[in-house]
Amino acid sequence: MSKIILLNHSLLTEHPEIMELLLSYGSYDWKKFFNTQKLFIHEARYSRTHYNPWPFRNEVADLFKQRMPSFSDKEYEFGEVTDHRISEILDIAEGRPWAICWSGGIDSTVMICSVLKNLEPQQRKNFAVYCNHVSIWENPRFFREFVEPNFKLIDSFRYEKVYENFDQYLWIDGEPADCLWGSAYRYRISPQELGRSWRSSLDTLVSSFIQRLTDTQSAKWFCERVIEDIENSGLEIDTLSQFTWWNNFNTGWIGTNFRKTYFQNKISVYHIMENFINWYDNEAYQQWSMWYNLVLPFESDYKKAAKQYIFDIDKNVYSLNFKTKMHSGGRKGRHEWLAVLDDGTYIAKDDINTVISMLPDHLNL
């Protein structure tokens, strides 16, 4: 008998029958849970440590090697980790050409720089870059000097194209980079405040973007859940920037990594996760992230190390000084599933009865 391992949380609220079932578990504050779903730009909220403050079981973390590694307390350097990632992906690719998803943003540009730096032209001769006009607009100079002359182009105007050419390439995506960096900018707390202790700045946290996306009570409830999670992490998480990083690094990670599966419900989720590599989802990047966020002082210049890595290749002073986080223009499409099962199949977005029959076993209450 199959069971649910992943839910598309944002679609659940569209179905009154599903909400009615959840609300029958009266002990849990579902209203606040769903009120705070907007805080996650990706559609699932699962903890990947053994402490789980959220109402759904997180077995998916084991099935797809999404558990957070133990902090090794060893210094990692972003450039070295990025250079090393190439050899790992070469092993996975087993000779297949790569299709690199390039949004024009910092994270995916790092991937292309690493390919150009570490692979000979002969090794990357059949590689493609999957991009569109918005990607080029984000970084025209890089496109002109580095993408266009070196790679075949696949138009990413429609995301479905990935699945039309799925087995022809090993697909590489720039996820889950924002979870590594922490994305503190999303909380709209000033850089000066981000270095302060979260214990003495709870009001700042609640009144930050958390409250703007929900209501005060839900914002407080959400902060309490994250604090619970932090206190069970075994890590020293003291500042506001570390608080926001932890939330993304622990709870945002799984939803972000599965994001590419949402737009279809035909190809086994196991096959997608094997053939569509998240560049930043490996042990070394996670260790680097823990070192960067827990040991080094807060860096207000967002993604500075990544921008420096790009600069070493493109020598573009403007990009180094001015490139900033933008809302990605890629990956638009209709969500096709409500849940993923442990056999790799999906429950389609309109199959409410199947979800209702299987949902109780997925609850962590």
Partner: protein, 198 residues
């Protein structure tokens, strides 16, 4: 710079190009199409936002123009830049004086002004090239007239405009870009018989 960037008539909106990292304005104008085009041309360096200055609570005419806009910034602009933010002028809450930064601001402002001048010049040339042809252009879009030289002519003008903007987009040196466009225009004399008249 001759154009101080005021609206063409009193009471009309005044727009500005805002650079979010430098946190200041680089250019003001009353012409929305032109200022968007300059913002697009700047995208090969960095991304800027077009804001509507008169949406600020403390806006009054003559507060900001192109002689001083780099000393001003705005409050209440977007926290996160989205591609869609670049397609319509954004409202702001307040106009405020900008802080001092260790960066050659004047170079950036001068580049924006340089682009602005050329945007006007290129538009002026193309408008003069099609002057008095409006009715003919309209009729040619309504009918498929055989062998109309007009269509070919309009295509040529559009190509000239596109090529000039392309030179500006990829340029990083004013003198060089000036020279490149001027020599390109020299070549255009052979394509447009009455070029010298414009």
């Amino acid at each position: 710079m001759e154009d101080f960037g005021y609206p063409s008539r009193p009471g009309y909106p005044q727009y500005a190009i805002y650079q979010p990292i430098l946190d200041r304005f680089l250019l003001t104008s009353g012409n929305l199409d032109k200022i968007f085009l300059v913002s697009d041309l700047l995208a090969n360096r960095y991304h800027t936002l077009v804001v509507e200055l008169n949406s600020a609570k403390n806006y009054h005419p003559n507060l900001i123009d192109n002689s001083c806009c780099e000393n001003w910034t705005c409050q209440g602009v977007l926290d996160l830049i989205k591609p869609s933010s670049f397609r319509h002028p954004l409202d702001i809450s307040y106009i405020a004086s900008s802080s001092i930064v260790d960066y050659p601001i004047q170079e950036e402002k001068s580049w924006a002004e340089f682009l602005y001048r050329w945007v006007y010049r290129i538009d002026d040339i193309s408008r003069k090239c099609v002057h008095n042809l409006d009715q003919q252009i309209f009729i040619s879009s309504m009918f498929d007239l055989p062998g109309s030289e007009l269509v070919e002519y309009i295509d040529t003008i559009n190509q000239i405009k596109k090529s000039s903007l392309r030179i500006l987009f990829f340029a990083n040196n004013q003198e060089q870009a000036d020279q490149n466009i001027k020599s390109f225009f020299e070549q255009c004399k052979n394509t447009i018989p009455w070029w010298n008249d414009v």
